[in-house]
Every structure is written in C-alpha cells, then in structure tokens.
C-alpha cells in the first residue's frame, strides 16, 4: 500500500515538473506553513567551468509529514538550465527533536557554460498531493582567464596513466605463480620418470625380469587354468610371460615375433642346449594348443610351468656367472 502511495506521489512529482516547465519561471515560491528551510547554500558561490559544487539544503518539518522530491536532473532538463547533475538528491535525516525532523538534501552539480545562474527550484510533493517549490541559490560559473599576450600553446597531454595497484596485479601474480608451479611439477614428473623415480623422488624399485617372470608363472600355476579346461589361456599365459622375459633379458622384441623367430633370435645367446630345446618344445606345444586345438597330455600340462621356471632360472644364473666372470677379468 505504501509502495503504491510512493508510485502515485512520483507520478505527481513528474507532473509537477512538467507544469513547472510549462510555466517557466512564472511560478512563485510556495511552501506549506509546517515546512521551514533552515539552510540552503552552495559549497562555493563561484566555480570554474567543469568544477563541481555541492548544494546543501536543510529542511525542518513535523515528524509525521513527508516530502517526496522530484529528481533534480529532470527539473534541470525540463528547464533546460545549463547545469549538469552529477549526483541527484541524497536525503539524510540529521536530527529528530520534539517531534520535529531535520532533513538534509545534498546535490552535486557542475556546469560547462559560463554565466551567472539562478539554479532551478527544487520541486517536492506532500502526501496530500500539494506541490512544493523551494528556493534555490545563485551560481556563478566563470571561465579561466587567459592572458592572450603571454599565452603559450602547449602540446596535447598524453593519456594519464595511474599507477597499477597491488590489488590489480594480484590475480596475474597468482596466475603466473600457478603456471610456474605447474611447469615445475611437470618438469619434475618427466625428470623423475626418466630417472625411474616416483613423484616424490623416491626411486621406484623395479623387479628384475626373472623375478617378474617367476611371479607371473607362480600366479598362473596357482590359477589352475588347465585343470579347469582352459588350456589355451594357460599356454597363452605361459608363453606371453616367457616372451616378456626374453624381451627384458635379451632385448629381443619377442612379442612381435613368432615362436620360430624367437628361437632363431636366441641361437647366438648363451643358453644351454638343454634349456634351449626345452623352450623350443614348450613353444611348439603352446602353438599347437593355441592354434590347432591340441589337447595336451596331463604330464605336458604339469611340465609347462616347471619348464618355463627352469628356463628363467637357468638364463638368470647364466647371466650371474657371466657378470662374475666379467668382474674377475676386469680385476
């Protein structure tokens, strides 16, 4: 309800402004008896073109009364006054005493036309719908006096640059730090990865090929695949483990080679004849199982993992012996 009242009053104020415009300066200053203008002054009587001035008006009125001010910018526009409103009314109750309220209305104005002006009247509305016109002071707007005899033309000044504050810089600094940190972490990750270390720099303990192979073979043995009719899976597991072991031990790309090619590439390696033959047999049996639906005998299945383990152990022992021999030769 109160809101509706304000809307109506605002409409009245706009109408009042229009009426004021229509009647120009013919309207006499009117104010109700309960309203008293205690002060109405400008912060400066005279300003240079473009300078700003505060118009301050202190009104005194009964507490129960209200006034609604018409926007001063509209008043100025309606009167086509050479005034510019920078900040419109700012109302502030400065005192309430014995049922009397004191209100201060402040306006920030400027002008870009030189001259001596009487500012347009302030327009307000009472709750009863009466229009109130309040007196306004004079303002003297002057130009800068230039001594044309002594005047020296100066070049146009460049754009003024304000110093960048730390607050403005803060997001950029944070972004730069974050990028630096990310770059460092990436560098450290690549470096540690190459050095076979984990993210925190601790060396990653990589098991030697024979340990990995023996672990895998033990796992296969424990899974009891051939006992459950999964011979193909069992032999694939055994041969894949051996191929990975051969690849890691001898650097032969065994995963991309056929059984015959693997055996061919091992001929020049130091492998005992017995182990070589056993591996060949194992690969041949595995190929039969994998590609020819061959069902091996129980003893063949039982021998597959032990044969693979024997090959891994024998080749590992051979390597140890070779290293020992090499060490002795160097001494």
């Amino acid at each position: 309800m109160r809101r509706l009242q304000y809307i109506l009053m605002l409409a009245f104020a706009v109408l009042a402004v229009e009426r004021l415009s229509a009647q120009e300066q013919m309207i006499p200053i009117e104010k109700p008896a309960w309203l008293e203008i205690k002060e109405s002054s400008l912060s400066r009587d005279s300003i240079l073109v473009g300078e700003q001035v505060v118009w301050s008006t202190v009104l005194s009125m009964p507490q129960e009364q209200e006034l609604l001010f018409a926007p001063y910018a509209e008043v100025v526009e309606a009167e086509k006054a050479p005034i510019d409103v920078i900040h419109d009314f700012k109302l502030d109750t400065i005192a309430i005493k014995n049922g009397i309220r004191e209100i201060e209305a402040r306006l920030l104005l400027t002008s870009f036309d030189s001259g001596y002006y009487k500012l347009p009247l302030m327009v307000a509305l009472t709750p009863q719908g009466d229009t109130v016109y309040l007196d306004s002071p004079f303002l003297d707007v002057t130009n800068i006096q230039i001594d044309t005899a002594k005047f020296v033309m100066h070049d146009i000044k460049g754009q003024m640059r304000y110093p960048i504050t730390f607050r403005e810089m803060l997001p950029w600094i944070a972004l730069a730090l974050a990028l630096l940190l990310l770059g460092y972490l990436l560098y450290r990750y690549i470096k540690y990865r190459r050095e076979n270390r984990d993210f925190f720099g601790k060396p990653v303990v990589k098991d030697p090929p024979h340990i990995i192979a023996l672990r895998e073979l033990d796992k296969l043995h424990g899974e009891k695949l051939w006992q459950n009719g999964k011979e193909k899976l069992f032999y694939t597991g055994v041969t894949d483990t051996l191929r990975e072991y051969i690849e890691a031990r001898y650097g032969v790309s065994a995963m991309e080679k056929t059984s015959a090619e693997i055996m061919e590439s091992l001929t020049d390696k130091k492998i005992e004849e017995r182990n070589y033959r056993e591996l060949d047999e194992l690969f041949k049996t595995a190929d039969l199982v994998k590609f020819a639906k061959y069902s091996p005998q129980v003893h063949e299945n039982e021998e597959a993992v032990p044969a693979a383990v024997r090959f891994v152990n024998a080749t590992f022992m051979q390597e140890l012996e070779d290293e020992k021999q090499k060490g002795e030769e160097q001494q």
Partner: protein, 330 residues
Amino acid sequence: METVNIKELNERIQKESAFVDIISMEMNKVIVGQKHLVENLLIGLLADGHILLEGMPGLAKTLAINTLANIVDAKFNRIQFTPDLLPADVIGTMIYSQKSEQFQVKQGPIFANFVLADEINRSPAKVQSALLEAMQERQVTIGDNTYRLPKPFLVMATQNPVEQEGTYPLPEAQVDRFMLKVVVSYPKKEEEKLIIKMHNAREFPKASPVLKPEDIVRAREVVKDVYMDEKIEKYIVDIVYATRTPEEYGLGKLKDLISYGASPRASISLAMASKAYAFIKRRGYVIPEDVRAVCYEVLRHRIGLTYEAEAENITTENIITDIINTVEVP
C-alpha cells in the same frame, strides 16, 4: 559352435598334400631356383587366387606356369598383351559360318586352366577389364550365352617394372583382384650356372603330368578346411587394419606415407593364402608364421603410397616390414 577334429584334419591333409612334394620335384626338374615363385604359384593354385608377377624378362615366368600346366595335365594358354589387342581376342567372339549360315561362338584363349597374360599393362583398359572381369566372375559372356571357365582357372599376369613408356598401368581396383603379387628376382650365381648347363644339354628336361585338374579342385576343398583359430583371424585383421590406421598400432610415422590401406579383399586373401601355405607345409592348422610368409605377396599391391613416401624411396615392402614387426603376434 563349430567342432573341428584337428587330428583327423591333419591326417587328411597329410594324405591330400602328398602331391605338393611331387609337384615341387617335377618343377625343380625344369625350373632352377625360383623356389619362391614356385611356392607362390602353388599357393595361388590351391587358394584359387590369381597371381600378378613382376620381374625382368627371362626369369622363367612363362616356363614356370607352362611346367605347372604340364604337371597338372591341364590346358595352358599364353596371351601376349599388345596395344592393339581387343577384348574379343581374349574372351572370344561370334563368327559367321558360311557353311552353316549361322553365327558360331569362337572361344578365346581365356578358356584354359592356366592363362599367362604376358605384359598385361601393354594393352588398353578395355582389354584389361575384359580379362579381370573373367578372372573375378570365372565366366565369360559371348553374344547371348554365358560360358563357365574351366576348373581350376589360374591367371598369371606379368608386368615389366622397367619400361613404363606406352603402358597402361592397372588401376588399384583391378590390381586388388590379384590375390598375390610376386616379385621375381634374378637367380643366384650357382643357379645361373646350372641353367646354362641345362640349356647346353642335348635334351631339355620336361616335367611329367602327375596330377589331374580334378585333384587340384579336390585339394582346394581341403585347403578351405584348414583350421584357422580366432587368434590368427585377429592377427590378420590387425595387420590389415595397421595399413589403414597405422597410428592405432603405434606406427604414427607411417600415417603420412600411406595414401590408402588394404581392402577387406586383402583380409580374405591373406586368410586363404595362409591356409594354402599351411597346406603346402602339410599342416591342418594355420600358425602366425604362415600369415607372415604370405604377407608381402598379399599386401604389396594393395597399399597406396603417398608422394612423400615415393620421394623418400619408401616401398610398400618397407611399410609391411614395419607393420609385421610392430603388430603383436598371438
């Protein structure tokens, strides 16, 4: 689910493939060296696929197929492709008989079990198309009638890799119809000495007919039965796919070198040729070695090279080597 008795199949193949050794023996009587050529001729014969031969003149290409025809006791015809050759000269035509006052069919030289299309790239596209269509359909239409070509039917076409002037290179789509492309190389020194001796002898050795065409047709049925495990099928598909999308197989460097990869016909041919190879090796099942043994012959004419590859002297053989050295063997 299909059940395969491998033991029984192996025994059957041992029995049926006995003639392979006889053929090889008879061929070796006449052909010195060229083991690779003879082996691929047998693969083509058993896998029911045609062969494109590339090699210099005088490398026993004609002699090889002629000898094979003698051994199988089959009909052999040779067609010399020339620029003025017409399709009718290959497949046959209708001629008017004044005696019977009727048009009669005159079958062309393509009506033979073994046909040697010598220097196929010397004839224009219309003649090549006539031959290749007959190769694919295994039948020829003359006038209103369609005639089945005899079984077995094997075409061996030759191309000279050196002379390119006045030739009509086979389009990719037509080259794809050859199951194998075999590159014939020069014989070794010792082999060449032996060739001279053979020619200086009073009588040139002759292969004896030891087989009937029906034996080959029956052997082809057995070849089809050679067991191929799913793992091998996957291996074949991986190899063929690696020619199309090498980057998926860690072969990103080949991406800019291949303009087009092998077609699904390559997968079929690779599978069939692997089976035939296993049969020649007297096995009832295919192993990865079989696939690798025929890989070059099946794929070399089915991979297109980019200008970059040609500029860097990279051949399809280089690409196939990279692929088979990268694709994981089952």
